[in-house]
Amino acid sequence: MSLTYVLESVLALLVLGAAAWTIAARSAFAAAVGFVSYGLLLSLMWVQLAAVDVALTEAAIGGGLTGVLLLGAVATLRGTEARTNRRPALPLRVLAAACCVLVSVALAVVVLTLPESGPTLAPQAVAALPATGVGNPVTGVLMAFRGFDTLLEKVVLVLALVGVWSLAPDRYWGGHPGLEHRLPADGVLPFFARTLPPLGVLLGIHLMWTGADNPGGAFQGGTVLAAMWLVVMMAGVRDAPAIRELWLRLSLVSGPVVFVAVGLAGMLTAGAFLAYPIAIAKPLILLIEVPMLLTIALALGLLVTGPPERTADPR
């Protein structure tokens, strides 16, 4: 029993503790703080599972963006919290708890009965990797072997954003999302919002670029860029753009559009939709990843800011 093992047991207990706190906390604010802590601990767990790509995604989205999204909602709904407290009757709760324990036990039995090493696609992925020109198998899966999933996932992001926008009252359609943040230009927060984003943009692009051979990729990079954009908006340094802006809409769809275009070109040059000619596979993957980074950053940022709440007319 090594020290590392003790460390991992402690980590598992912490994750469970943070999750239990998130469920049991009395105030929604405390639950949201708990959820952010939980996301952070979970990303440590992903590092222990040797899935650093996932750890990056979880750190960026699980703790960061989801946390901020929830906090915004908690702040708005604060007034209704005390009124919305009718829990199901005790017998029903006991029944629900019993069912949940049953689900957990069933999953635990599955985990315990599985052999120590399972079937894997890792050899196939590694064997086929040289053809893609990238060195990180996860990026290879995302961008080449299962490129179709990634393409559809971009479409889901854009569709979710259209869904959020469609919740705007008619008079605000095409306007600026979210509330206006007005702050004195020389305060602490605007200073922070001018200092951090250059570093953050650097990190976002670094994550995208290094994703070809090391853990990282367009998702993780895009999320960091989205977070930096949100800092700038929250500090009132720049207002959120009106959603009717043409540049915004074009940039939003640029990721899926370039992906589909490359995919269609693959039908002519490599014989199948989303197939890349081997000689130029890596440049093609980069060509897709750059607009993808833009789409992810914009879509994630705008998903957090929410539907338009102000008209697009100049103030």
Binding site: S2, L3, T4, V6, L7, V10, L11, L14, G17, W21, F29, A30, V33, G34, V36, S37, L40, L41, S43, L44, V47, Q48, V52, A55, L56, A59, A60, G63, G64, L65, G67, V68, L71, G72, V74, A75, R78, R182, L183, P184, G187, L189, F192, L196, L199, G200, L203, L207, T210, N214, P215, G216, Q220, V224, A227, M228, L230, V231, M234, A235
Partner: protein, 96 residues
């Protein structure tokens, strides 16, 4: 460098910081809760760096950088949420 020692320091920092999470439970103010969460963030970053060196995972530094970036971002959002609630309570509009 002995990886066991690095892992031990990582574990120690993690456990200390988690004890500090009791402040999320106790409060009393929202500021105290945010502080505990921020401490957890810093402790998590520290142990991630340690584990990265101990297990020879250079990419762990990238995770730590991302965590640092996003933790800063989340703390700002926490505080904006708290100040908004304060403004509502005290009836002041806008401002910080």
């Amino acid at each position: 460098m002995n990886p066991e020692f690095l892992a031990a320091v990582a574990g120690f920092v993690m456990i200390t910081v988690v004890v500090g999470l009791a402040r999320i439970l106790w409060g009393p103010g929202d500021a105290d809760r945010v502080m505990a969460a921020q401490l957890l963030g810093t402790g998590g970053i520290a142990s991630l760096l340690l584990v990265g060196v101990a297990r020879d995972l250079p990419a762990a530094v990238d995770v730590a950088l991302t965590l640092a970036m996003l933790a800063a971002f989340a703390s700002i959002a926490f505080i904006k949420g708290v100040t908004a609630a304060q403004d509502e309570d005290s009836g002041e509009g806008g401002g910080r």
